[in-house]
Amino acid sequence: MAKQIVKMNLNGQEIEQLVDSRMLLVHFLREQMSLTGAHIGCETSHCGACTVDIDGESVKACTHLAVQCDGCDVKTVEGLAEGGALHAVQEAFYEEHGLQCGFCTPGMLMRSYRFLQENPNPTEDEIRAGLSGNLCRCTGYQNIVKAVKSAAVKLQQKESATA
């Protein structure tokens, strides 16, 4: 079994782990690190339920090797809330009923979190395109789109408040 030492910053913590080189990032997070927020939906990089943030980019963890994260900053849904305060996207999904069974939610949140940094003031079409790598079977996306819009406003208000 080919194993490698992997060092990464995972949700703000420096970690060092021995991983099998074929270990997929999503299994590393869920099974080795017990971070079960990222979910496995399709395993072929279509559903986005496993979406995490690597060095400031949204990545599907089912099609990424843990060893490829050596030296990277990895953020999962468990690291989204800071200082006990929910992130704006988390608040917005709750307030706008942007989730039902909750299975796609961590991926949706992580993608929305990154998307709103790529595009802080998106139109509805831009939101739909920005989330097109994430599938949801419950909501029909309508309230997810509302939630992302509302999160954008929240983040802009935070901006102007701190500015």
Binding site: E31, G37, H39, H46, C47, L80, H97, G102, Q142, V145
Partner: protein, 803 residues
Amino acid sequence: MNAPVKTPEERKAELQGMGESRLRKEDARFIQGKGQYCDDIKLPGMLHMDIVRSPIAHGRIKKINKDPAMAIPGVHAVLTADDLKPLNLHWMPTLAGDVAAVLADEKVHFQMQEVAIVIADDRYIAADAVEAVEVEYEELPVVIDPYKALEPDAPVLREDLAGKTEGAHGPRDHHNHIFTWEAGDKTAADDAFANAPITVSQHMYYPRVHPCPLETCGCVASFDPIKGELTTWMTSQAPHVVRTVVSMLSGVPESKVRIISPDIGGGFGNKVGIYPGYVCAIVSSIVLGRPVKWSEDRVENISTTAFARDYHMDGHLAATEDGKILGLKVDVVADHGAFDACADPTKFPAGLFHICSGSYDIPAAHCSVKGVYTNKAPGGVAYRCSFRVTEAVYLIERMVDVLAQKLNMDKAEIRKKNFIRKEQFPYTSAFGFEYDSGDYHTALEKVLDAVDYKALRAEQEQKRNDPNCPTLMGIGLVTFTEIVGAGPSKICDILGVGMFDSCEIRIHPTGSAIARMGTITQGQGHQTTYAQIIASELGIPSEVIQVEEGDTSTAPYGLGTYGSRSTPVAGAAIAMAARKIHAKAKKIAAHLLEVAEGDSDWEIDRFKVRGNDEQFKTMSDIAWAAYNQPPEGLEPGLEAVHYYDPPNFTYPFGIYLCVVDIDKGTGESSIRRFYALDDCGTRINPMIIDGQIHGGLTEGFAVAMGQQMPFDEQGNLLGNTLMDYFLPTAVETPTWETDFTVTPSPHHPIGAKGVAESPHVGSIPTFTSAVVDAFSHLGVTHIDMPHTSYRIWKKLKEEGVQL
């Protein structure tokens, strides 16, 4: 200092009861990645199971060589049917009265059928072991088409049934025949057709599709050899029934079997069945004395667990020249796959298909459904619908369009002409269903006004007259009636267990409460809405009402969540349990207020002395007293259990209208507008209702416009990943407009009818109605689903209107 006196409105608002768009209690854990789904569960010493599957659709197993797999370090066991035989677990009973192979016994009957299982230290080793198991097959002729399966010389699929002329649902007249089931009055229907001036017929195929929830199926089985107790976490929509079945299969007393449905990542019918994977994981855990986890992958999910539909239908309508329907006849050939594992009430092998007279007053009707074996996976579940109601609604709504076209009548007009009128309710249909309530005409007018139907038709006319118009415009209209809330146990049971449901409520001394039900949420938000019912019934704020489901050791026995039964059945049980508590509370209140029971009135959250607003006891005062100073002769405590056996089904209805524009060059269709009016009776949480409707419409969109499970002649399923199986993204998904009317159910304690499935059931024929409407001026009466660009383009070409 006294707190300011609150107005009744303020007090009512604080309860967050029925009618409020209360935010969901479930969400806190989900938005922080703290949901607990089956695959999240990790137990000490847990092993992983993976499954060796047949690559071919029909064949004899000549040889299985486990050795290469057993040689892999970390592999604990490789089991085949031969290993299960001594336990008599190589076959298992299905919900439909048939048997299904747990692991293929000498023969494989469909592609990816379970042939062997491997148990290993982790899922990586298990996957390697699956690849290492060597299996030799002798290929046999494959039957994919159910009509061909019924030909005299068709290959025998189920050798285990050789000579069995009597099936679970009556006589079998062919080796691949499962049952023929009929409803209605054939003679009356034949007479109606014999004497009718107008008759129309249409063949239509409702393709095999898959519910495809985002979370696949799986379980963690943990047998404690010391205590002899079996605990299993399972993605199940019906944990109590599973417990009963597991006990029957394993011989472990039901009292020592605990089934827990944790958070479920969507069900939509996919998680009703009991699958070989579950059984094998449980057996492995019992044999090895260690926890065993099985997690299905997506290809396995689409290929093997619980398909839906696959109905080949011939519909016939008889009518007068002016469009009054006189009779309905339907003949169905139902492809059930290799084993009859449909999840239907025992007496109804075709579910509630005989709701197919729809929203219309049809004097004579008859339907016949013939179930057939083919070399496809078993299943036949209700994909976000009540047993086979989707097929029924599709059939009748298509037929009414076909009739309108033949008579050159408007779709809306012919429906108005045939609707069951408001004053006819309760209405008994020709199939014997008693529709509880409805007001179809009012709802239809509301929709036609909202979309300005006349203007849409005018625009369509103008576009049809413009040869240079690059698009075809179609208007779809469907006016459907659902039948949900199975069901009255005198006619509905599963494995002999009546389809009641249950609720247990305990009010704690300080006035907070816990309630447990026999259902299990898969995203419907039970923890939120159930609390709202109790809040309104008992005057306790939703916020302090804990709702628990899914653990058979704590929840009362219930039949689970599917067929929109949660609100109609469990919702009623909740109200009835609450009313038992309410009645006891009234006694205690009278005692505390020192008045006769008759002299106190209930108001929102309190009993007050009649005519004196100052003298009252709130439910939390009463709860304390119930435990600490109950009246003479009244037992302490404040709790109740209720098992609710519904007197009837509920009949939600809806009016859906869709406008589609079809690109004459590519066959691409774009849904310009979709207007959905739903009447689900009393509305508990409008926010959640809207969310359920958005979701149901989107699933309907997926089914109508893209979902299919294509098999080639050899039985290979082509397209079982999410690359090919159509789940729309936010980009393809239309924006939905929702509306409602409220016609409460007279027989339901709170008048609620259930809603989650109507949008799926109702939208699918609406999309087809719209696509066909775009071609109707060319004489096209029907186009089978899915309405992919490719298939629509072929129709454009056939009609010579492609660019």
